[in-house]
Amino acid sequence: MTEEEKNMITVHIMGKAHEVPAGLTIMKAMEYAGYQFIRGSGCRAGFCGACATVYRLAGEYKLRTALACQTAAEDGMFLTQLPFVPANRQEYHVAEIEPGPGTLAEYFPEITRCVSCNTCTKSCPQDLDVMDYIQMSIRGDFEAVSKLSFDCIQCGLCVARCPAEISHYHVAQLARRLYGKYQSPVPQHLMTRLEEIEAGKFDEAISELKSLNATELEERYTAREIEKIERGEVMDE
């Protein structure tokens, strides 16, 4: 028996048993078992939400959720992927919205159906406090929704599990855009720089750089002064 064969586990992919080496992610285990993904594989790094997976472990009644690319396959696992979630999405134009406490509930009235069961929070593979941000949406607190939902990868597992049929991640997307646009103003230093660029302040210097040959350019490059990281200043400055 080779080293590899000794460390094999059994995973049940959509009900079919496959022997795969221990230590792979669910995604790689499926590939080892012979699947070539069309759906169900996106960034493969936990950022895109393409590989939402529902599974049960041997001997457990609990239905668990995970990202296939960020979770190790376990012996006796029964699993399937969610190729698509038909979540309710509203159309809106942020430039035309005057955000108020009732805006989110106006676009997504179903948020008021939340029964506070916390299933969304339990199903979130990012461990976000999903139910809390739905509560904050009902109150119209854009900042709180933004903060609580910021790491949402929009995989849709919360939507698939919600007994109140809320489309959590679409609500959060609208809240974040409204907060970003209306409650977090454009810094003045950016506006100043834009005016300077528009007035052509840097044009001459850049034209000059463009006219230099490689040696001259290298001299300018090596002569430039590098701003240093001051300890303790990076975060607060």
Binding site: Y35, C43, Q70, R176, S184, L190, L209, I226, I229
Partner: protein, 551 residues
Amino acid sequence: MKLIGGYTEEMRESIEKVEKTRDRRMKMEFEAMSMAERDEVLNKYHPDYKPELKRTVSLGPNKGDIAPNEVVDLLEAHPLITEKDIDLTKIDYDVDLLIIGGGGGGTVAALWANDNGIPAENILMVTKLRHGDANSMMAQGGIQAADREEDSPILHYLDAIGGGHFANKPDLVEALVKDAPFILKWHEELGVQYDKNQDGTYMERAGGGTSRFRLHSSKDYTGMEIMRVIRDEFRNREIPVLEFTPAIELLKDDEGNVAGAVLYNMETEQYFVVRAKATVLATGGFGRLHIQQFPTTNHYGATADGLVMAYRAGAKLRDLDTVQYHPTGAAYPEQIVGLLITEKVRGMGAQPVNKNGELFVFPMEPRDVEAASFIRECYGRGNGVETPTGMHGIWLDSPMIEEINGEGAIHEGLDAMYRMYNRFGIDMTKDPILVYPTLHYQNGGVEINANAQTSIPGLFAGGEVEGGVHGKNRLMGNSLLDYNVFGRRAGISAAKWALKRSKPGQLTLNHVSSYERQMMDAGIKTERRSPMLLPDYRGKKVLARMLDDVL
């Protein structure tokens, strides 16, 4: 295998050394390299400087140019279809503007084309995976824009062109640095959230090779935040999109203009013909070719399809000889090998240290120099930390981040990183993390001018698929910027082009047949077909992407 806090006992011994030297290192500054020192480490240790793993392209507009074997393999391959397979008189989609690729570049191009007179219903986006499944979604660290008083677009220009080994196309760098602040303002108007200080100014950080703090981030989900917002805007405008339906070949009209594409629905296995007055190529890069067997940070679809299609249609490519290896890919645990550890980890103060706990390089060299130094430390000097699978890596001393910036700084600024390691039992606020260079970015690509036009009329390009912006090496924070600047310029240029023109005449795949003849003339005998569309990891191939012998 016994693990303590996610690490083996052997690794724990090395971590103890890292902890012992931490206080001393906190006060240390490591001198940045001179140009001569940079050259030395690059020549000896950077994977790009190994001529035996590259070859010359034997046909087409770049005949005689050097590129990695994996790229030339795709250029010197038969098409998936021939002229006879497709009835080009039956047009399935007839539009003003076809956008190939559903990542950042394609989305930005669509929005700006729409703003510049092309109605939503006359645009069609086609994409291989889902809209937003792209490297754009995965970028963590941030986006550059010289908007502080202490900074200027002139310095941004120098940084970008020096980092690119002075091989960048000057017009493109100028566009990149001058458009950058405008792009941020546009994002603000759409509702993108960037990290800001109490006083409302941007929180800006250093990146490798940047002479000023210029990196704007949204925690370590910067790419995701931008992509979510622009995709939401795209959906609200009801611009049509076909997912899981990549373009597999460009079409031309009888005047030689690009005039659409042949699509392939991967789920139903049907082909479709799109006729378009203008076409924007935004298919991203080539990370999933695993050049030199390196693991990659790239998304599943990064298989160079756009390069192949454009090249068959006669577009000129450039700077394909260099590949960006990000210095810090995860080297442990095995499940996440190759995934991106954002440069922001170093930007916030974590030093790279060897198995003895020694700092051996200036932490903020440009990416190629930093990556080559890591490889030298592991395989040239034997100071790498060995993992249970035999890989070697360098510690990133992440606990320093909280010592420098205060408790909670990792949750505040690096939540994605914390979450990824925590899933495998490692707490990066307490223990360092192990990294090794990973294949990250296609520095070159389809050549464009400052209006994002390629060398063939009717074809525009934006994002990682195009080349010239970054020369031989891209700096951190310039890729999110690139797809925004040149996606926008591609969208505007394509809209202007389309508004001036009537419907293309007879569609043709002549160029594909002619390419086949050129392959025969060049004596290429192969079974290979391209574009690749999807990498194949089935069976044991999924295990074969481990890096154990790079030198």
